[in-house]
Symmetry: C2
Subunit: 289 residues, 2 copies
């Protein structure tokens, strides 16, 4: 199979690495608006060849849009038009509803499989690409009935080669759930960083005390604004709802502290998350699925 | 040297492991109000012998209080009284000001060295003890002028054997800084967990989507309420100030989202934390100290 990856950053690049290493793709074409990223991707052998989008898309069997979500929105209709009538087009965006709506009436909508592989690090660009990034993680596929079976199956096959477990939901449900479970984590982390940076004018103090839990909690604050600004914009209503709920819970926690009661109960409630997440690290040891 | 560790949890137990392995202590006595913890600590060879506090303290050269901060407050005066006139007493509490104030006029105050080794995991109890837990982390020593030099030096020696870098501040400054850099991280994590648990009644969804950043951001939500309730209580005014500042920053971030401007700038500001924390992972590569 010939695969074209449009956007050679952390996600696109990591997909290229594993699809080649695991024999899924005979040839991997890559395209990136940044000459620098394209050169780097070639140098790191993330792709076999770099071409302009217009040259890469028409000859590919599977086209993967590994772009920030604003660029997906802009590029997707054109890619569908350039693609051959048998080609499968998929994206990796962290928002799904607006992207799906943007091609609702497109004559090639059924060749498109909207997806969201939930893996990544706080780093970005082709140099951040990692082998095995997707192993044992989850990929969400949205609105499966709107895609033709052959295209759905091709994308399912790709993610199973990447080692991912598949989960299906509507694009609306996806955007609501990720607002709480993923996007809110990033905001809490960005804002925690800014709160501490505002308070501690002497950064040596932050450096000195960061091992007291701060380090892991602000890991996501290193994430790319270029990636996250359009995600928050496209998922605005869900994200603000999640943020409002978070602020409300924080105010309640504060009240419990001042009252001198209830705080322990709130923390015990929060501890439950440990039992849920343990199943992530030991997917075979759990009894849930 | 004979060391007595009062409280054989994650911190006390890990100190025992490394002080023995690195030859700092000839003999390590341990004491814990929980029979179960004491037995476990013996079984895991965290200590050589388990004794009641009244028996362990008087014969030791160095007594380490590895207790939750409310228990430190309660136990410290008695331990100072039981200790020999040459013994050094130190604690590992995450708050320092109230603990220092509680023994301000104590006739053995100068044998006490208030300290806070900033290392840990979200787990607790003797089974959570780890070798090397403290390596390359920071220990804060407070109000050094209030301790006699020989006692200060003994504690400094101990932490240097544990591989820690020492930082000095007043107990008041300590409590303010850790409210922002450490305690707030724990609250943001506890509350993030509760916000998501409230929203996602089907925990399978949390499990499925947690690799999108949530997992690392809520790690601290697994922390022990027994340990954290008294920390928040003892550091209430600083913790509520930190929480208020965090909520304010969250509200500002929310406004920026709705305005559709400024968000990128706020995220770029937050990215700065990456440059500060990188120095933690590569302490020799930095140029800061």
């Amino acid at each position: 199979m010939k695969v074209a990856i449009i956007g050679l950053g952390l996600i696109g690049g990591s997909i290229g690495l594993d699809l080649r290493a695991r024999g899924f793709a005979r040839r991997i074409l890559g395209s990136d608006v940044s000459r620098e990223h394209a050169d780097k991707a070639l140098e790191l052998s993330l792709v076999d060849e770099v071409l302009p989008l217009e040259a890469a898309v028409p000859s590919a069997d599977l086209i993967i849009l590994g772009l920030p979500v604003d660029a997906i929105l802009e590029t997707l209709p054109r890619v569908l038009e350039l693609a051959s009538g048998n080609a499968t087009v998929t994206d990796v965006g962290s928002t799904k509803d607006l992207i799906c709506k943007s091609v609702e009436g497109h004559f090639r909508r059924r060749q498109f499989v909207p997806a969201h592989p939930m893996a990544g690090t706080e780093h970005s660009g082709p140099s951040a690409a990692l082998q095995g990034l997707f192993d044992q993680r989850v990929a969400v596929i949205c609105n499966r009935d709107a895609s033709d079976l052959q295209h759905l199956q091709r994308v399912e096959k790709m993610y199973s080669v990447l080692g991912m477990r598949l989960v299906y939901m509507t694009s609306m449900a996806h955007d609501l759930h990720v607002a709480f479970v993923s996007h809110l984590s990033h905001i809490s982390s960005f804002v925690l960083a800014n709160t501490v940076l505002d308070q501690e004018k002497n950064t040596a103090t932050i450096f000195d005390l960061a091992s007291g839990g701060f380090e892991s909690t602000v890991r996501l604050a290193k994430s790319s604004p270029d990636m996250w600004a359009p995600i928050f914009r496209q998922n605005l209503s869900n994200v603000t709802a999640a943020l409002d709920s978070y602020i409300e819970h924080l105010q309640d926690f504060r009240e419990s502290l001042v009252e001198g009661r209830r705080t322990r109960g709130l923390m015990e409630q929060a501890n439950e998350i440990g039992r849920i997440l343990t199943r992530i690290q030991t997917p075979d040891g759990g009894n849930r699925r």
